[in-house]
């Protein structure tokens, strides 16, 4: 098991290098001069040259990449070109926000998504199943900002049950609304996937056998069918969680949560290279780690994976 885990982690290194190279190259290709973004359009040629030299932007692209790689490996993500703050500090300030939002949303979406999915599958082709499916479809078709703004007005402005926006003192109640909105959206996808995976399992012979034995339906669904659907469901959940952890730009913006997602988008718009590189590094680490975790979880859920 340990060797399996280690192999997974080592395999991640080429991925990280490839992602950082691609990001660096893409930022080089997009239009807009980062130096002009910093010193402004009215700066004298001397100032522009000065700043370009100071940031190392006069070096060839390969050199710049190697410089960045060297600094990053020594743990220094550099300072933002726009705010002058260390990028690592900014990421550290934003990580808890994104993590809290992600975990709230994940808990809500998993509870609803798996529950509804299994319920709909166990009532295949009944009125309840159809109702759930159509309901999810309709809800999922409404843009997230409509639901988010609506929820904000009802709970925050009209009923004054929850904070309108922002993280306040950072306590959980600031994350209930955004977590709910984000979690509900995610649960649609999870419910639909869970339902179809469950349906596939339920059609199999061993389920018929279990029912023929006279087992209670609850036991059949949860102990037999759900356990066998679990490998696919874990992939689903792992993917959802890593998606949540890299930040959810729309939800973060509407609910005014200073998370990693908004930070990334702002940095990209400002051509703030150190910040963008820091964000992408963070996000690829999250993705790679999540995938490694999923693989490990497979092994726990299904002994056959460990052998293979």
């Amino acid at each position: 098991m340990i060797r399996f885990t280690l192999r997974r982690l080592l395999g991640a290194i080429p991925v990280l290098v490839a992602v950082s190279l691609a990001t660096f190259g893409l930022l080089y290709l997009v239009p807009g001069d980062p130096v002009k973004a910093i010193v402004g359009e009215r700066a004298s040629p001397e100032t522009i040259a000065n700043v370009r030299r100071e940031l190392g932007l006069d070096l060839p692209l390969g050199r710049r990449y190697l410089n960045w790689l060297g600094r990053t490996l020594s743990g220094d993500l550099g300072r933002s070109w726009i705010t002058g703050r260390p990028v690592a500090d900014s990421l550290k300030a934003r990580l808890p926000v994104t993590a809290k939002l992600a975990l709230t949303a994940f808990a809500i979406s998993t509870a609803i998504g798996l529950g509804v999915g299994v319920y709909a599958a166990s009532r295949h082709n009944t009125a309840a199943d159809h109702l759930v499916r159509v309901g999810l479809l309709v809800f999922g078709a409404v843009p997230v900002f409509v639901i988010a703004t609506g929820a904000m007005y009802l709970f925050g402005v009209k009923w004054r049950l929850l904070p309108v926006s922002g993280i306040g003192d950072g306590s959980l109640r600031n994350f209930i609304l955004p977590g709910l909105v984000l979690g509900l959206y995610l649960s649609i996808y999870q419910a639909r996937m869970t339902r179809s995976v469950m349906l596939e399992v339920i059609r199999q012979d061993f389920i018929r056998t279990a029912r023929a034995k006279g087992l209670e339906e609850t036991a059949v669904i949860w102990r037999h069918a759900f356990r066998n659907a679990l490998v696919t469901v874990i992939t689903l959940l792992g993917g959802s969680l890593s998606n949540l952890l890299v930040g959810s730009v729309l939800t973060e913006t509407i609910f005014n949560l200073p998370g990693v997602g908004r930070f990334t988008v702002d940095a990209a718009y400002a051509r703030d290279l150190p910040a963008v590189m820091g964000c992408f590094l963070f996000q690829s680490v999250v993705f790679v780690a999540a995938n490694a975790l999923i693989d490990v979880a497979y092994g726990l859920a299904d002994p056959r994976v460990r052998v293979g």
Binding site: E41, R42, E54, G156, L161, V164
Partner: protein, 569 residues
């Protein structure tokens, strides 16, 4: 078989009961949570109103509060609280004394002598002296700092050499004694005091600036009425009253600003009573104007800005003045304005906002006349019409006005392609390296002077990125604008501005569109709020909070007495 089905049905019924129970439990839990959170709002107004703290919002998080790094309106607004310049803009947008109690200009307009107030203190307790002013200005021009506002002071003698690394000091900056600053210019510049009133001209504590270096903006020390008290990255910042302020101190004790980028969210926070004032945009101006609760609480004032389409005079077919005039005649700007949002904008015929520096335009603009437009195009050699690109910035007003322009031009045979670009790409495309046919732009004044709406925008020495996006060049206009810059007499200046505007717009380098109007809506408790023509003039010293029963201001006054007592100890 029968029995089995019967058992299943019974089981199902039992399970249904279980579902109902679970549902009820969830509902109870939700209600419990809700009641737990009820009444514990962070907002200022619910049960116990706090009349000493102002709750505001910034749409963007400001950059470091360092005059040399302040660029955006938000940066400048925050810096205005913490720092002072030698002079400042008053509520009419005029330049008035601030750190300098008076100043003199030599007859040739080259030497400015500023006499500082005595006894002005920095937040750290040290006393302001003339060398501190020289230090602050030199710092702004320091090539190592790379300030994007260095241009503000580059008219000072020797500033360009210092900026270019060819000199060790700025020749034109001197402090003959502790309370006198003497500034010598390269050539006369009548609006020089207005430049000094910009945030770039604020005076910093040399000791703190040296100590903190790169991070000074996060530990700002100035002489202003407010001290930075806290700053949570991405969340918000707060300011506390500086008891040793030299001027009329604030009536409030704390300013608490949150960073809220989304306009809808800001509106929701305002409607929940969590913000004292809300700046309105085109999307919600109508909503508040029609809402009886708020309609009477809306304040407006013209913004010192202009929205326009620049026509590229340096590139065929727009290098032909006939084509540029044709485009001007082809567009019914009044109709576009009505369609967008009346009240948020005023029609512009030229570039100088009405009333700025006593400006009364003599130029009436091009009348809407599509047949004349077609005739002009035919005379210019385009009877079949022509193809042009219009570059716009993603989002907001751009889209609102670009599509009607496209439709209007189509009627006279001009096929307009709209190219929408994200901000940085937009600046690259419309700046020095790009060469678009038309671009939709806005210009916001750096200082309240008509010169700021002429020289940067139309003088041939200015690059596209410096403001002259139309690449306009006309020797007569150039002469007039240079004349304006050297002219100190306001009456002659006004005459020159009118003449220059007319000369420029007869050559039709733009399709001028609108002058924006600033709109704000206030909570009922807000008193003494007004819209400042130049944003940095507002130091938040005049506003206070008070309900209809008169509660609030007393609190503030008591608080102030406390503070003064504390200061004496």
């Amino acid at each position: 078989m029968m029995t089995l089905r019967g058992r299943r049905a019974r089981l199902r019924k039992k399970k249904r009961r279980k579902h109902v129970l679970v549902l009820a439990g969830a509902l109870l839990l939700a209600l419990g949570l809700a009641s737990l959170t009820n009444g514990r709002l962070d907002g200022p107004h619910p049960q116990l109103p706090d009349f000493t703290t102002w709750h505001g919002a910034f749409a963007f998080e400001p950059g470091p509060l360092d005059p040399a790094r302040a660029v955006t309106v938000t940066d400048g607004s925050a810096c205005a609280l913490v720092y002072n310049g030698l002079v400042r803009f008053d509520a009419e947008g005029l330049v008035v004394p601030d750190l300098a109690e008076r100043w003199e200009v030599s007859p040739d307009g080259l030497v400015y002598t500023f006499h500082l107030r005595s006894g002005v203190r920095f937040h750290d307790g040290s006393t302001l002296t003339a060398p501190d002013v020289v230090y602050s200005f030199t710092r702004l021009l320091d090539p190592k700092l790379g300030s994007r506002r260095a241009w503000v002071l580059d008219s000072i003698k020797g500033a360009r050499d210092f900026l270019g690394g060819r000199a060790l000091r700025v020749d034109g900056l001197e402090a003959p004694d502790t309370l006198t600053v003497r500034i010598t210019l390269e050539r006369p510049l009548a609006h020089f005091p207005a430049l000094l009133a910009m945030p770039a001209g604020y005076v910093v504590s040399p000791e703190a600036a040296r100590r903190w270096g790169m991070d000074f903006g996060y530990h700002p020390v100035g002489t202003g009425p407010w001290k930075l008290a806290s700053w949570r990255e991405g969340v918000g910042m707060s300011f506390e009253v500086f008891a040793g302020y030299f001027g009329q101190g604030p009536r409030l004790q704390t300013l608490s600003y949150r960073f809220i980028p989304d306009a809808t969210t800001r509106q929701a926070e305002f409607e929940a009573g969590n913000l004292e004032v809300l700046a309105l945009g085109e999307e919600n101006a109508g909503y508040f104007a029609q809402n009886p609760r708020y309609a009477a609480r809306i304040q407006k004032a013209p913004e010192l800005a202009v929205v326009y389409v620049a026509l590229n005079c340096g590139k065929p077919p727009l290098d032909d003045v006939l084509v540029r005039r044709a485009l001007n005649h082809a567009i019914d700007r009044g109709a576009i304005l009505d369609a967008i949002r009346p009240g948020r904008y005023v029609l512009a015929n030229g570039s100088i906002p009405l009333g700025l520096g006593g400006h009364e335009p003599t130029w009436d603009g091009y009348a809407y006349d599509p047949s004349l437009a077609r005739a002009l195009l035919a005379r210019a050699g385009y009877p079949e019409g022509l193809d042009l690109d219009l570059v716009i910035r993603a989002g907001g007003l751009s889209v609102f006005s670009a599509e009607p322009i496209q439709a209007e031009l189509a009627r006279v045979g001009v096929r307009l392609r709209i190219v929408q670009l994200e901000t940085q790409a937009f600046f690259a495309a419309t700046g020095d390296s790009g060469n678009p046919d038309l671009c939709l732009l806005s210009w916001v004044a750096d200082y309240a002077d008509p010169e700021n709406f002429l020289f940067p925008l139309f003088h041939s020495s200015n690059t596209p990125s410096g403001g002259n996006n139309a690449r306009f060049s006309d020797p007569v206009a150039d002469l007039l604008m240079e004349e304006i810059r050297g002219e100190a007499d306001p009456r002659r200046r006004a005459v020159l501005c009118r003449a220059a505007e007319r000369v420029v717009f007869e050559r039709a380098p733009w399709i001028p569109l609108f002058f924006p109007v600033d709109l704000f809506v206030c909570q009922p408790v807000v008193r003494g709020f007004r819209v400042w023509p130049v944003y940095s003039g507002n130091k938040m010293t005049e506003v206070w909070l008070e309900d209809d029963a008169g509660r609030g201001d007393d609190l503030g006054r008591e608080g102030r007495a406390d503070r003064e007592g504390g200061g004496r100890e």
